[in-house]
Amino acid sequence: MLPAPDGSPGHLAWSMNLTAPFLAAIAKLLSGATVRWHECQPDTCQRVYFANHTSHLDALVLWASLPGEIRNLTRPVAAKDYWSKTRLRRYMAQCFHAILIDREEIKVHQSPVDVMIREIGKTYSLIVFPEGRRNPGEEMEEFKSGLYYLSKKRPDLELVPVYIDNLNRVLPRGEFLPVPLLSCITIGPPIWLEPNESKAEFLKRAREAVRRLKDV
């Protein structure tokens, strides 16, 4: 049993522990996701899974396609304005232990990276989408700098690239009804921030690590 994140009342915790595997099963069924671990093994060590972002389902499906015991230790980072809008969204966000980040109001000591580091402690892993927003086009956008600062403050975290294929056709931007096509999730070998590596170099390398998985 996990404590419900962000201090929600305890009586909801048990129902979430029941709903979470159910949500994961639906997500897997709908997206028909095949998961390929390429030069990387599932592990409960602390990791940051970073992926390309093309659909609202990305976080849910990537989270669902991790093995159960790892899934319980992995928390997607999601936008607060979207995921706290309705009661259902709030409930779902709590089910998969999402860390909600305020995109509008970024304070000095409450920067998103600080929040993430505080929330994961010494146990949890993260799912992040460094492109920042859902990408409408074919090519991936430039990565935002969060991944770099995260890695700088916590160099022990394994940075695991993930490429999500075809999920944008299951639920494209602006649609609310998914079409059950088949998608594919490729999880690649971890990278780390090299000593003396500049921010731009690192972000370029991280982006390349995700893009490379498209062809394996």
Partner: protein, 350 residues
């Protein structure tokens, strides 16, 4: 080996009153079970052979095929034991999965999203509901007429004119092949079988009260699936043995004229030998098997053409690295309407 025969005989002697599977169906099922068992152990033995005696790629393909047959066998048995509706539902799920693979492989545009939603969520289940309700008049026209008209209209309303006809054709072809055609296989179970003339029901014997025992549609459906699958094998074997003239090298390099002719003749012979499982009689069983063999061949060629156009080897490779559902049922899809209509027209009460 004796134990297998005993199992076979027990299957054959199961009472035909309690289940829909009569003695003939049980004999057919038992023989296939034995064949599959043999194939399984042959595959296992081949896997242990050194590479010099057995080509590992061929052995792998063989073992994948055998595994798919076991799946198919299990699905058919489960469906037949649970009845008509269950068989229709199981075939519906196979259609759904095949359509999923088909559309995943063919690129669509953003504007097609709502149309695809209709295709998956409305037309596919509706076709199988109509088959389940035995509404012959509706399920023969629903997809070729109404869905085929709806799809271009819905795409037009979405407002994206780019490659309009091509996109419409892709979705129509997927729906027609994966859903419409395949739905004719479970529909075989809904026919009232006769021995040729409209009044003569297919009777295979008399029970203790001298009441007629009607032949079972299950054995006819099983006959059909068996013929189609073995036709694939025969065509492959004849191609390997004698194959010289490749039909269309750019479409499928392993299909030869020798394989087509040898395979079709072998399938006709097999159909005649198995005609006791059907109401057709030897002559017609041979002819229908021939038609099924040609349709199965056409299906494999068509699907190869689509795959080559998309530059993939198997429908499954996109997804999990081995052949997908559509690779296994392509010939079944094309042969199902042919077999259904021949049986319906010549051997059932219309």
């Amino acid at each position: 080996m004796p134990s297998v025969w005993i199992a076979c005989l027990t299957l054959a002697q199961l009472p035909s009153t309690s289940t829909r599977l009569d003695a003939r169906t049980n004999i057919l099922l038992g023989s296939v079970l034995v064949l599959l068992g043999v194939a399984y152990f042959v595959g296992r033995a081949l896997r242990r052979q050194p590479e010099s005696t057995a080509n590992p790629a061929v052995v792998r393909t063989f073992n994948l095929r055998v595994r798919a047959w076991w799946m198919m066998f299990a699905i058919l048995i489960a469906g037949l034991l649970m009845g008509y509706v269950a068989t229709v539902v199981l075939f519906g799920l196979i259609s759904f999965w095949a359509l999923r693979e088909f559309i995943t492989m063919t690129p669509t545009r953003r504007g097609d999203h709502r149309t695809l939603f209709w295709t998956f969520v409305v037309f596919t289940p509706l076709q199988y509901v109509l088959v389940g309700l035995r509404e012959y008049g509706l399920y023969t026209v629903m997809i070729p007429v109404y869905a085929s008209l709806f799809i271009p209209a819905r795409i037009a309303i979405a407002g994206d004119p780019k490659r309009f006809l091509e996109r419409v054709a892709k979705i129509q072809a997927g729906l027609l092949i994966c859903v419409y055609c395949l739905s004719h296989a479970p529909a075989i179970l809904s026919l009232e079988l006769t021995t040729g003339s409209p009044e003569a029901r297919w009777i295979i014997g008399q029970d203790a009260q001298r009441q007629p025992i009607y032949g079972s549609n299950a054995s006819v459906l099983f006959f059909f699936v068996l013929i189609v699958q073995l036709n694939d094998v025969f065509q492959y074997l004849w191609s390997q043995l004698l194959g010289k003239r490749i039909i269309a090298p750019q479409i499928n390099a392993s299909r030869t004229w020798e394989g087509l002719i040898g395979g079709t003749l072998s399938t006709m012979l097999l159909g005649m030998l198995l005609s006791w499982a059907t109401p057709f009689g030897m002559f017609w069983a041979g002819l229908i098997s021939g038609a099924v063999a040609l349709a199965g061949f056409a299906g494999s060629m068509t699907m190869s053409g689509i795959k080559r156009d998309r530059g993939v080897k198997d429908y499954g490779t996109l997804v999990s690295g081995h052949a997908g559902v559509l690779d296994r049922i392509d010939s079944l899809c094309f042969a199902a309407p042919v077999f259904f209509h021949l049986t319906r027209f010549f051997f059932s009460k219309l």
